[in-house]
Amino acid sequence: MQTVLNILEVEPIRLLISFGAVLFLVLNLAAVLTMAERKVSGYIHLRYGPNRVGPRGLLQPAADVFKLFSKENVSPGRSDLWVFLGAPIAMFIPAALVWLVVPFAPGAVVADLNVAVLFFVAITSIGALGVVMAGYGSRSAFSLLGALRGAAQMISYEVPLILSLLGVVMLTGSLSLADIVEAQGDTIWTWYFLFQFPMFITFYISGLAEVKRVPFDLPEGESEIVGGFMVEYSGMTWALIQAAEFASMAVMSAITVTLFVGGWQPPLPFLDLGHFNWVWFGIKTALIMFTFQWIRWSVPRLRMDQLMDLGWKILVPITLIWLFVTAGLLLVFPSLGA
């Protein structure tokens, strides 16, 4: 027993095993999230949602996954095959990689990088590559339009996304996510979403755009370009794209929680659960994800030019102004910083 634990202490093996565990978690999370999405939509639409497969329809994701697993994998005749098949993987890997740096609880992080914020920013921007690959490889007008939209959207929303997390970095003076969580303290009013409220909102909106959720789901645009970049995907490739979407949605909520809502920290000191503080992390992440789905079923979609207007003319100025405000306050009251 002791030897086993010792082996786990060895860094590469610990990394591999813990990453494997996180990957398992991500894949399952994607399945659970599809179920949650259908149930949440059911409640919003005044209907039941899936309730025939297993108890209360809980086995529905399993049925979907096994079905997609056994579906034929069609690739269009004139498609660029390797690009076409590589795109879902290129989409999934960045979404899964970000989980490496998410701190679930004190010490419970796969790789506690001291540049975790930078890592997150770098890896999420790779996601656009997969979208472009999918659109180009499918060789269809709809896919191409979706890919071009996706590339434009994801690259322009990187700017407000990065600017809005700079405020937190300034306050903490560290790029490590664990440090950021520690710095926020275990009371709800010291978490950054209050002091950095404009940044929190900007980060949330840019995050929505980054993971292509309604009202920013232009690359998919179900009623306009019939699924956009994924119009030609079927079976497991399509499932992989969906898994990537849900994983990136989950990771975006996790990062939002880590940066602004205090990560694993309990809202009040007496609610500290010790080793079970990851429960707080889970609850907060689930809440943020629920708001994503709430928005998904409530509002229409923006148009491309309006999307660009929102990004460049509203979000970027807001973040810049608040960055100056934060910097000024830090100069006047140095005690604000960590």
Partner: protein, 395 residues
């Protein structure tokens, strides 16, 4: 609702006409820019059935739009020539399948024009009652479809909840959910069941409660909805009239025209209602017109229920309907506009020629006029403005 400043901002941002976005072909040639040909439909979520649009895209701007029809051509006019007069009514049900009652009514009016029968007043009231219910059952989903095409999924479910309740009333009255065959030559098939007037009244009351909440408060003030629909599909009165547009799509430009008032039929002259117009002539205006027309329909239904006389529901047409040689015209205001029927008789059992003027068909000419210059995603709200129905334009 929006503040005046935001309103002005929206209008200021979009006052330039859509066509000003078009790059002239000369410039495109000079710089070697190419356009994409794109085929939208016939199987496309936003094409209201089986419409195929051949689009030429310059980036996301539509340069040319060419609607292709005929994917649901069901030979209505040819088949009608070999059916006996009453047997054409169930076929007309299937023309514009969101306005079945209006289709029946129009055809029946045309045949009655040929026959010169007297229709009992109770039958007239029942016809108008059913037609106005049908208008509700068409307008409310069309608002839902508009939102669905903009990307909001929920309103369509609320719309279909209301439609489902109206269909339950239809089923109790006519025996069918969609294809009624209820309005017959000379009257209606059967009297209303005794408990139905109260049921309709209860339903209308409950709809009045829901309507403001589900279809106005949820939608009308939404910033994204406004930015997606205001000044989109903008057309002038002249444009709309030139293209032969009728119905809400015409009234949203401000032309005050409604068959029910200007070419009165049935008992509409005895009922009180307003013809709703809006001046903007864009998608948002058509949404507002549809909302207001729903309220007018509710008003009409209440009046019908209050004033409905007792008596027979079927006039005397004789066993065989064999009109003399001649021609008859029927014209009703369907939810989409002017629905007219022209029946030519040669003195036999079967019509010599039946011609349907369907509003969807005529309104759709608008597409090739107003879509060029708009962005690709604007096609969907414009389809919501025109709101054509596949069975209608393809006959």
């Amino acid at each position: 609702m929006l503040s005046e400043e935001r309103r002005a901002h929206h209008e200021g941002a979009l006052t330039e006409p859509a066509s000003s976005r078009l790059v002239s072909p000369d410039i495109r040639d000079e710089f070697g820019l190419e356009t994409i040909d794109m085929n939208m439909g016939p199987q496309h979520p936003a094409m209201h059935g089986l419409l195929r649009l051949i689009l030429e895209l310059d980036g996301e701007t539509v340069v040319r739009c060419d609607p292709v029809m005929g994917y649901l051509h069901r030979c209505h006019e040819k088949i009608a020539e070999s059916r006996m007069y009453p047997a054409v009514i169930p076929l007309t049900d299937r023309l514009d399948y969101f306005a079945n009652m209006h289709n029946e009514h129009g055809y029946v009016l045309a045949v009655e024009d040929l026959l010169d029968v007297e229709i009992p007043p109770r039958a007239e009231y029942i016809r108008v009652l059913m037609c106005e219910l049908m208008r509700l059952a068409s307008h409310i989903p069309s608002i839902g479809f508009l939102m669905l095409e903009l990307g909001a999924f929920t309103p369509i479910l609320y719309a279909f909840r209301e439609r489902e309740r109206i269909q339950a009333i239809f089923e109790a009255v006519t025996g069918a959910r969609m294809m009624f065959h209820y309005i017959r030559i000379g009257g209606v098939k059967a009297d209303l069941p005794p408990d139905i007037p109260q049921k309709i009244w209860d339903y209308i009351e409950s709809l009045e409660d829901n309507f403001q909440r589900d279809f106005v408060d949820l939608i009308a003030g939404n910033e994204i909805f406004i930015s997606r629909t205001r000044n989109v599909g903008k057309m002038t009165q002249e444009q709309a009239v030139e293209m032969g547009v009728t119905g809400p799509a015409l009234r949203c430009t401000g032309v005050d025209f409604d068959i029910r008032r200007d070419y009165p039929y049935s008992i509409y002259p005895e009922l009180e209602f307003d013809v709703v117009t809006d001046s903007a002539g864009d998608v948002e205006a058509s949404y507002r017109v549809r909302i207001a027309e729903c309220l007018q329909s509710i008003r009409l239904i209440k009046q019908c229920l209050e004033q409905m006389p007792e008596g027979e529901v079927m006039g005397d047409t004789g066993r065989r309907i064999r009109p003399a040689e001649g021609e008859g015209f029927g014209r009703v205001e369907s939810p989409r506009g002017e629905y007219a029927v022209h029946v030519v008789s040669d003195g036999s059992d079967t019509p010599y020629r039946v011609h349907y003027r369907d509003p969807s068909f005529c309104n759709m000419q608008l597409l090739q006029e107003i879509i060029p210059g708009h962005y690709l995603p604007d096609i969907m709200p414009i389809m919501g403005l025109v709101d054509p129905v596949s069975g209608g334009w393809d006959k």
